[in-house]
Symmetry: C2
Subunit: 209 residues, 2 copies
Amino acid sequence: MNPPDFGGPAGDNATDQVDRLIALLAKLPGMGRRSARRAALKLLRDPGGLMLPLADAMRSTAEAVRPCRICGNLDTTDPCRICTSPSRDQDVLCVVEGVADLWALERARVHRGLYHVLGGVLSAISGVGPEDLRIEALLARVGAGEIGEVILALPATVDGATTAHYLHDRLRSSGVVVTRLAQGVPMGGALDVMDDGTLAAALKARRPA
Amino acid sequence: MNPPDFGGPAGDNATDQVDRLIALLAKLPGMGRRSARRAALKLLRDPGGLMLPLADAMRSTAEAVRPCRICGNLDTTDPCRICTSPSRDQDVLCVVEGVADLWALERARVHRGLYHVLGGVLSAISGVGPEDLRIEALLARVGAGEIGEVILALPATVDGATTAHYLHDRLRSSGVVVTRLAQGVPMGGALDVMDDGTLAAALKARRPA
């Protein structure tokens, strides 16, 4: 423990608590030591306004939210509300890398079927193999026979494409229809700032006007 | 409340809790909606690792830390450990804008006297007048007669300089020595990237080599 590094008064036990708060805040993504100090000061200036509500929200959420045993989504119920919803299409399964992608698709309200969270993508560099992802669980769900289409909504990166290829191979024998998200110019995207790969993909996948 | 804005699954009561967590995280300085979502996901992936310790640290800090009635520092005791420390010089008072500045000086271990936190600087644009700052409390401390020197460690900005001038005027009748931090080229600073004001101040305050 090195208090001066985290910005509390140096060498004074009195502020170990503040130092610890700053150290923990600094572990949040996007936070550095400096912004953690600023955040701690803002919290300390009005504890009732943000610090206590946030503490309570974190504690209650930590106790209430867990991964869905079926799809891997995070929810206060297990199985999650998407998996148990009677209004979702039971025969279309959308495979995503992580819960953040699931949330993004739900925000866009474009997918009315079910999800399967892989928990990552294959990566030779990071040493992520098939056994590290929820692939067997996916094959088991598809093997149960109620799924008609698997949509691979994986990131448009090399690792995402590798993972999509791998899953396509593994799903081939199941007879299920496997599709991917279209690639092209994003909404509002100006052509002159697009990378070559996007332009090539958009041109190749061109459609009648 | 607009859940899609904060990134939870849209229109689903199940995740109101996560939405609320994200909304609160987004209020931290330096956090936007997007980074609050990422932070929430990181917290949710391993609640025991960071979320519960952080919740506990915030709750216990909120309950334990309060402003020192003498200097305005934040500490678990009131008066704070600096004000009550017998090893600090009781006759040198360093005036700072905020607690963050006090912490910075303590980290540097350069000031062995006491502090006085103003809680801001005078600002015509932001409508901050003398009555909004802890100036009367400063004059009362100096008036008690034990202080020999007041160091104005205020920011090197227009508002900081205005505040320093104002405090110097108000302290004149007390007979106390009033000093300011030196201005000049910072340690490691290359001359060709310094602004004109810094170069002018450094040249004006030049000293024998």
